[in-house]
Assembly symmetry: C2
Homo-oligomer: 322 residues x 2
């Protein structure tokens, strides 16, 4: 299995949905040849702790210790800290499990001791037995801000505290222009052995766009010799998880997979649609993007592996056509 896809693959991912495909890729690609680039636009400081939700979800998912019920946090979690914090009058809108807290406390400690997020993530991943490489999109701070009619909201205030209730009028990625994209990511993009750049089925606005907002990344993706293939996070006009289609509605976009493809636009070489969206495949192809129709809803580990294989085969077809 590991030999089935020797060339290297880059996956861009946010949390839950993206992490599922990343986990599938990690099972079918030689882990040493897989680079997972995590959105860090969601990162924030809370209770004095540095929290990186997408990195954590990716790490927990690839280590097989993720909480499948919530889509975030760890399995077999306890909540003693949260109950005690509430009794002391602390802020409890962001739920931190006791085991999860170890990640935040230890990462914060190391960051204060001048370790980079990249180095910390590599060490945590190794200790958790993850063979694939996971890197933050940047070691510099990029913070997603959600614009609403009532004013801007820090991402986690919008997403968790306000439960995505406020209407969205746009997004900004503060710090992105001045940030340096992760050198590991930049180097991998120019690797001649690179065979596929996969945009995982994450929310395009808040999970993928922060990565694309980094200097030169869009250009590097467009000019890479490997195809850029996105898996639609919208299936049958609905987001598999999260507020993607609510955002599309508020941004006056059609709530469809086709709108996701046109949002990414010229960046894409290929787009992966679920069979329920087969009727719009031609609409996407008309914009010059190749389309693969295959099951994209991942419920089991086998689903993740099958989709990962399909996406990689789709990338190989692209190379054969060149």
């Amino acid at each position: 299995m590991i030999e089935a896809y020797p060339p290297s693959c880059i996956a861009l991912s946010g949390g839950a949905g993206g992490a599922k495909l990343a986990a599938g890729l990690a099972r079918v690609v030689d882990p040493a040849r897989l680079l997972i680039v995590a959105n860090t636009g969601d990162d924030f400081e809370h209770l004095g702790l540095y929290i990186s939700p997408d990195l954590d979800t990716l790490m927990y998912t690839l280590a097989g210790i993720n909480n499948r019920h919530t889509g975030w946090g760890r399995a077999h979690e306890t909540w003693t800290f949260m109950a005690a914090l509430e009794a002391l009058g602390g802020e409890t809108w962001f739920r931190l499990g006791d085991g999860d807290l170890a990640t935040h406390v230890e990462r914060t400690r190391r960051l204060r001791a001048d370790a980079t997020l990249t180095a910390i993530t590599a060490d945590f991943a190794a200790r958790l037995g993850i063979a694939a490489r996971i890197v933050p999109m940047s070691d510099d701070a990029v913070r997603t801000v959600v614009d609403t009619p009532a004013g801007p909201l820090a991402f986690q205030h919008y997403f968790v505290r306000d439960r995505c209730q406020p209407q969205v009028s746009g997004f900004r990625f503060e710090g992105a222009v001045a940030a340096q994209a992760n050198p590991v990511f930049v180097e991998a993009l120019s690797d001649p052995a690179l065979r596929a750049i996969v945009i995982c089925p994450s929310n395009p606005f808040i999970s993928i766009d922060p990565i694309l907002a980094l200097p030169d990344i869009r250009t590097r993706l467009e000019t890479a010799r490997a195809p850029v293939i996105a898996v639609s996070p919208v299936v049958g006009g609905r987001a598999v998880k999260g507020p993607t289609t609510k955002m599309m509605r508020e941004l006056a976009m059609p709530e469809s997979a086709a709108a996701v493809a046109s949002h990414y636009g010229e960046l894409l070489d290929g787009f992966v649609l679920d069979p329920v969206d087969a009727p719009i495949a031609d609409q996407v192809r008309a914009s010059g993007i190749d389309v693969l129709v295959t099951n994209t809803v991942m419920k089991t580990l086998a689903d993740k592996e099958t989709l990962a294989h399909a996406v990689l085969d789709f990338a190989e077809e692209y190379h054969r056509r060149q």
Copy 2:
């Protein structure tokens, strides 16, 4: 009961043993008239968190949520954080329970937001339903350093990491000279209504001496109109808990309650001995310190209350004799 001791009382205390008597005092003194002054020489920063072991033990004990088996930490605790931290390669020599962690995280957050340790402690105590006032001995940093033949050790490295194994040659209280004693403490010492100053049965070297090392505190205690009464932490030549007698041996002191009394010296007006130490009562009296012989080993809540009553009655006798 509450009316039984209307005048005000100050208790100086460290952790476990001292906290037991403090809890007894809180039950027999009008809580509004009781001030508990906690040693903060044990405080340290660990994993980026500000930890104040004696304040916490006092707070948990007075709130009735202390762990009676360990003598530190909280009852009904879980340990998920610690296990996860170990898996990530974090430092685990100082055990932090999941619920306990909320105290450290929330306190650290408030300290960084410029709240004082005094204000934070007052708020935590109120939220935990503690009526008596608990204050840190100072809002300034005082750090106990343990001198050993192999060099100085930060207190928690000596006490927890090295399990009190190193031989002790002395103690220093870094920052004490420049620190300001808690103004609440200083004010209470000059209150004409003050009737008793109780030195709880805590380790004299590491729990009480840091308080006495604060500027002017020794003088203020000696000149206060209320008697200073210490309850011996050494019973029958042994410390009820902790390394007190090991330290006495290493400091070439007799391992006895009498040596504790002479360590405090002229500060004391009264000394409380357990019946097993009745034979040395006269030896202590010979140094001009009045002695009360009564049960000092507190196993039950009734033991704590009985000892608290006995100590307060002993103080009243002092006033009658004046």
